[in-house]
């Protein structure tokens, strides 16, 4: 293709995006767009899959049948999200196996929040309420992102996520209204998950890369700091409602700004976890790799069987 042709394609592509039309897999797209989307969608898919582990840790110990069923269903939804998202990613010309490979070798990232341990039942509440809550704030704008398969996957994901968030909040509420032991458990979970949840919304704007480009492609509509403020403003009244205390002495309503002010975030911890040194980075990756490796013979068997069946059918036809 000539340089001019490419320029034309690029212009057309950008015009399409600015007209709010979707880019579809068969459409021409700049290589950087493709790569950025592979990175972001796969990171998102990996987060769903790794995110199954901290909650999966409490399935066998859920305190009631109702909660056990709901938790199982939730973790299953996450697997489902992983499926849609890997499929969306595959439309960009990369296979699921390659994506797994990137996860397992550490080349691809996943959300750092899942490198914290789930220590009590209340963590199931805190994750739903805070982690899914922060995720929704990140994700809702993506329902209108420019890449069609990603946008459509996000519509499904967001619908389920907000159900999960309500479910998490309800777990917390029940604990907060329960016995002193239960309330303490809830408060403790909030204490442990609050700051990591704030960090989920990404580094502060001055430390963040890719933002301008992402805005243009509608992978991002607000800055990290704006999203974080939105999350805090939304969550503080919910904590008040159920009588739990946000673990931030500097937190207070700023009449002038119309927002909550909040204390400084420990970014050292954030980068430590991102770089692989969080409490559970090793375990999470080992669990995923272990499942994948232990599953190899199963996948091989399914493949071999499918080939045999195809051969048999062929022979019957002949």
């Amino acid at each position: 293709m000539s340089e001019n042709q490419i320029k034309n394609l690029e212009a057309e592509f950008e015009a399409k995006i600015s007209r709010d039309e979707k880019i579809e897999p068969k459409d021409w797209m700049p290589e950087k767009y493709r790569q950025t989307h592979i990175r972001q969608i796969s990171q998102h898919a990996h987060s769903e899959i790794v995110g199954m582990l901290p909650e999966g840790n409490w399935i066998t110990r859920a305190p009631s049948l109702r909660r056990k069923v709901a938790l199982l269903a939730k973790v299953q939804d996450e697997a489902g999200h992983g499926l849609y998202l890997y499929s969306a990613c595959e439309t960009l010309g990369i296979s699921r196996d390659e994506l797994y490979e990137q996860l397992h070798t550490g080349k691809a990232k996943y959300s750092s929040i899942f490198n914290y341990p789930t220590l009590t039942w209340a963590d199931m509440g805190a994750i739903g309420w805070l982690v899914d809550g922060a995720a929704i704030i990140n994700q809702v704008p993506l329902c209108n992102t420019s890449y069609g398969p990603y946008a459509r996957a996000m519509v499904r994901v967001c619908k389920e996520e907000s159900f999960h968030q309500r479910q998490g909040f309800e777990i917390m509420m029940k604990l907060a209204q329960g016995t002193p032991e239960q309330k303490e458990m809830a408060q403790d979970a909030l204490n442990r998950w609050w700051w990591p949840s704030l960090m989920m919304l990404g580094p502060t704007d001055d430390a963040s890369v890719h933002t301008e480009q992402s805005m243009k492609w509608k992978l991002k509509r607000k800055t990290n700091d704006e999203l974080r403020q939105q999350f805090i403003d939304q969550t503080v009244p919910q904590a008040d409602l159920i009588g739990l205390t946000i673990p931030d002495f500097d937190l207070k309503w700023n009449e002038e700004r119309g927002h909550y002010d909040f204390g400084p975030i420990n970014w050292d911890e954030f980068w430590q976890v991102v770089k692989g040194h969080g409490p559970c980075n090793k375990e999470r990756l080992a669990a995923r790799k272990g499942a994948w490796e232990r599953g190899e013979w199963v996948r091989d068997a399914a493949m071999a069987y499918a080939e045999k069946q195809a051969d048999r059918k062929e022979k019957q036809v002949v």
Binding site: I49, M52, L53, G56, I59, T60, R61, A62, P63, S64, L65, R66, R67, K68, V69, L72, A73, V75, Q76, A79, G80, G82, L83, Y86, W121, I171, K174, L175, G178, T179, E181, Q182, A287, G290, A291, W292, R294, G295, E296, W297, V298, R299, D300, A301, A302, M303, A304, Y305, K308
Partner: protein, 251 residues
């Protein structure tokens, strides 16, 4: 006075689903592929959903403060009536599939009869569960074939699993006291009548899967009388932990 036999009968049915559901729950997030992970979780969800129906009914019979959760979580090991098969560990995917298949074939035959129970609650649960169990059976049979007629490794693994788990099949067809009473009342199922069909169906699928039928002289039993394998204690320690450590609370 409550109907002790009906109560015990319900537990005998529901505990199988509870413990198998719990075992499958251990696997969630650790399956060999996303698709199998989702499918096994689905089965677990179905089973636990059935359990809730059965235990809610049992709690009504028991009266007092009984609830689905007191029945699920605060019995002693010797009071769980599940067959030994369902408590066997998730040794590998072949064991998971073999255990599931050996249960599903039974489960479909059983529910197919239970839906005609004179007890309307049981009949209703059975009708709803039967649809689910049919799906489970299709899933596990398909995998039996894939593994049996897949690679050499998968064949040998599924054959091993089948050899090890076959000893637990006969227990499915033993009548307990509660079974006999409920049979007399037109409520329960005569499981002894399901046995021939059961082994015929196993034969068909295993033949197609090129898996040899294990030769077993002695079968294991005990679960229906609460005499479990050593695995059971560990299942319960985990499953009951919250209810034991935080008694009498709402969640």
């Amino acid at each position: 006075m409550m109907n002790k036999n009906l109560y015990n009968y319900i537990l005998g049915v529901a505990d199988n689903s509870l413990i198998l559901g719990q075992r499958l729950g251990e696997l969630c997030g650790h399956g060999p592929s996303l698709e199998t992970d989702i499918a096994l979780t689905n089965i677990s969800l179905d089973l636990l959903g059935q359990v809730r129906g059965y235990y809610q009914y049992a709690a009504k019979i028991l009266g007092g403060n009984a609830s689905e959760d007191t029945i699920a979580f605060i019995r002693k090991e010797r009071d769980y009536k599940n067959v030994l098969l369902v408590e066997q560990p998730n040794t590998d995917f072949a064991y998971v599939i073999a255990r599931q298949f050996l249960f599903d074939v039974y489960h479909v035959l059983f529910l197919d009869q239970l839906q005609h129970s004179r007890d309307l609650t049981l009949s209703a649960i059975a009708k709803k569960s039967l649809k689910e169990a049919l799906y489970h059976k299709r899933f596990s049979s398909d995998w039996i074939k894939r593994l049996g007629d897949g690679t050499d490794e998968s064949h040998s693994r599924i054959q091993n699993a089948m050899n090890d788990l076959w000893v637990f099949t006969n227990e499915l067809f033993q009548l307990t006291e509660a079974d006999k009473e409920m049979l007399n009342e037109g409520i329960g199922v005569d499981v002894t009548q399901l046995k021939a069909d059961y082994y015929n169906q196993l034969n068909d699928v295993l033949n197609e899967a090129t898996i040899e039928i294990p030769e077993v002289k002695f079968f294991q039993k005990g679960g229906k009388e609460g005499v479990h394998t050593e695995h059971m204690g560990y299942i319960l320690a985990e499953m009951q932990y919250m209810q034991r450590a935080y008694p009498n609370m709402e969640w």
